[in-house]
Symmetry: C2
């Protein structure tokens, strides 16, 4: 295969205006080891922040049919260092995951985690959230880090303006995002690495259109919608994703960054998005917030103290087939490490299955009915 | 089988004075579900304090060939409550472990964990270490709790005097331990539950002999040496275990409570002990202290930051076969949940294999050579 990423839309549904929306696809990657990798979309990517999807092993990720995971450039740059990861055989080998990995650019964490950051046209100077040490990211360094990590999908280094932001601020960030995208494209990557461009534009429709036109004119393998899910309401986020998606090429993967709740994934797929990532299933698991086919559960609730039933009777995961709600509550109350594990296995399984269900419904031309059923059940 | 526990000594070695010492045995249990359970001894029991062996699943315990685990009566009484555990199908089902379980009596934790405790001839009044609430344990309640939990091996409720303690204190504790043992024997258990008597006597040889005579005159299925590993030096502990073991019947299992380090297990087996438990492999794992065939490792040490090799090249566990020392160090430094998991899997595997090696060496009549080799290797 000549390009590191190929994408085939297997089935695409149109909305009431004839716009191509929800689709099922097959995304093929060259693979770090030369072994072709295939991802069925729509897909959710568990977040492996610092070289581990928190609380679970890669063997467990495989068992729950997770297809691809995300690694955070900012975190891995700080600890253990991208050069070190490369020397140890790149990220796949370091963390024992032979499936595809997408790395973000580090930009978002620099803006959201570091105590102080100073953005200029050339890059961002920031302080580490760990020890306050000073660092500087540029588009070139972001590419170099992701190259060293050896991920399969590399994100352009972009500027994500805060929410809310004035149009001038958003426009400035867009201009930088475009320049930085162009500079990043000049940096050679490893031959298996695919490049994603990122559309910004805040909550302004005209800016989203402009950013989409600019970014999609560049030779990226896929495109992402960035700058959402950063504080605006879910309704606004969903509306802007729905607005923006059709401005991205139909023949390339579309990735909605940092989203989100189960209903946000449903609305994202409805809008025509193929890829998602979010810390919600893993983070909420550790806080005892569990997603089930009957809606959300807070396992801490005393009503589960004597409940011998499974967490989610419809779920085939290890947690639901082997343990009771009473036991899961007990582990959570006692702050046992096993609580984080079992809860994470379930929440990620829920997310993976949600995507599989949507894919099947699209392929079987019954996605609208599936959506209705999803909302009916989860409103229990 | 008429009794809940049967024990066959397969092979027994004698010391230079002709005293029967290290032995390999088969311990059969009636089993909570009516399914006969067999344990090959000597055996180490991972500690599942509050209904989970910290950081690992029961599936992982099975994979590492752990044969039996320990549950803590004090902890399970406080949370989630023994009645609740019984309603939820007893401890085996509650925590999804179908192998044998030994429960302690709760006495030791009452003395060591609770803020205030007041011992009288009838029992102990104490405050919960969790919320300060007041509780009272008696020999009868300890049996009732263990009965409700449905463990396979039930420990007598004993008084463990502190170290150091005067002979009068130790004698008083011994008298109570004997009375409490007799009272506990009056309480009916479930038919599959075997009873262990506990020898006390502190660091006084004559009191150990007296306590052993008294306790072994009672109709217990097995006997434990209590009151050691509570602050005295390892040498003293080992010496007292070696002294006491021959005063326990050769045809019943011998259990050295709360011991210990790998070398303590070796010396315990040499003394003629069959069963051990300790939080050391699990607790040290969470603190980054790892046991290997070449001695102890502190995985936090910066010398492992770039080490691509396995934690212990001789270990077949998931951690050693799939991850590098560099990765394990990284996870520990970043306080990832996975660190506790992978470290615990390794340390427990090390302990399980240590016991298996000793058993094989005894059966093959080369235990002395094995001990020499163990000390040579671990002193690296």
């Amino acid at each position: 295969m000549t390009r590191p990423l190929q994408f085939i839309v297997e089935k695409s549904l149109s909305d009431e205006n004839g716009v191509a929306r929800a689709r099922a696809g097959r995304l093929s990657l060259a693979g770090a080891t030369g072994q072709l990798q295939e991802i069925l979309t729509p897909v959710f990517m568990p977040v492996g922040t610092v070289g581990s999807v928190k609380a679970v092993t890669t063997a467990e990720l495989r068992r729950m049919s997770a297809q691809i995971i995300l690694g955070n450039t900012y975190h891995l740059y700080l600890r253990p260092g991208h050069d070190r990861v490369e020397r140890l055989g790149e990220l796949h080998r370091f963390m024992n995951w032979d499936g595809p990995i997408l790395t973000d650019s580090g930009g978002f964490q620099v803006f959201s985690l570091s105590a102080l950051n100073k953005i200029d046209d050339d890059g961002v100077t920031f302080q580490s959230h760990i020890d306050g040490s000073s660092h500087r990211f540029t588009p070139e360094l972001s590419m170099a880090i992701q190259k060293a990590l050896g991920s399969d999908m590399v994100m352009a280094f972009d500027q994500c303006p805060p929410y809310p932001a004035k149009p001038e601020e958003v426009q400035l960030a867009m201009r930088r995002t475009l320049k930085w995208a162009e500079r990043g494209l000049e940096v050679p990557l490893k031959s298996h690495q695919a490049r994603f461009g990122i559309v910004q534009g805040g909550l302004y429709e005209e800016l989203r259109v402009q950013s989409a036109r600019e970014i999609t004119s560049l030779p990226f393998d896929a495109f992402a919608i960035g700058g959402l899910s950063i504080g605006e309401s879910p309704e606004l986020m969903q509306k802007m994703a729905y607005f923006t998606a059709p401005f991205l090429p139909v023949d390339k993967p579309r990735y909605l960054m940092g989203v989100g709740r189960p209903e946000d994934l449903v609305e994202g797929v409805r809008a025509g998005i193929d890829m998602f990532d979010c810390v919600m299933p893993t983070r909420n698991a550790r806080n005892g917030q569990l997603f089930t086919s009957q809606g959300k559960i807070n396992i801490k609730n005393s009503k589960y103290a004597d409940d011998p039933g499974p967490l989610d009777p419809e779920c085939p995961c290890e947690t639901c087939t082997q343990y009771s709600r009473a036991y899961l509550r007990h582990l959570f109350i006692c702050r046992e490490v096993l609580s984080a594990r079992l809860n994470t296995i379930h929440n990620l399984t829920y997310y993976v299955r949600l995507m599989t269900e949507m894919r099947t419904a699209i392929l079987e031309n019954r996605f609208d009915d599936w959506i209705k059923s999803f909302y009916t059940k989860s409103r229990h």
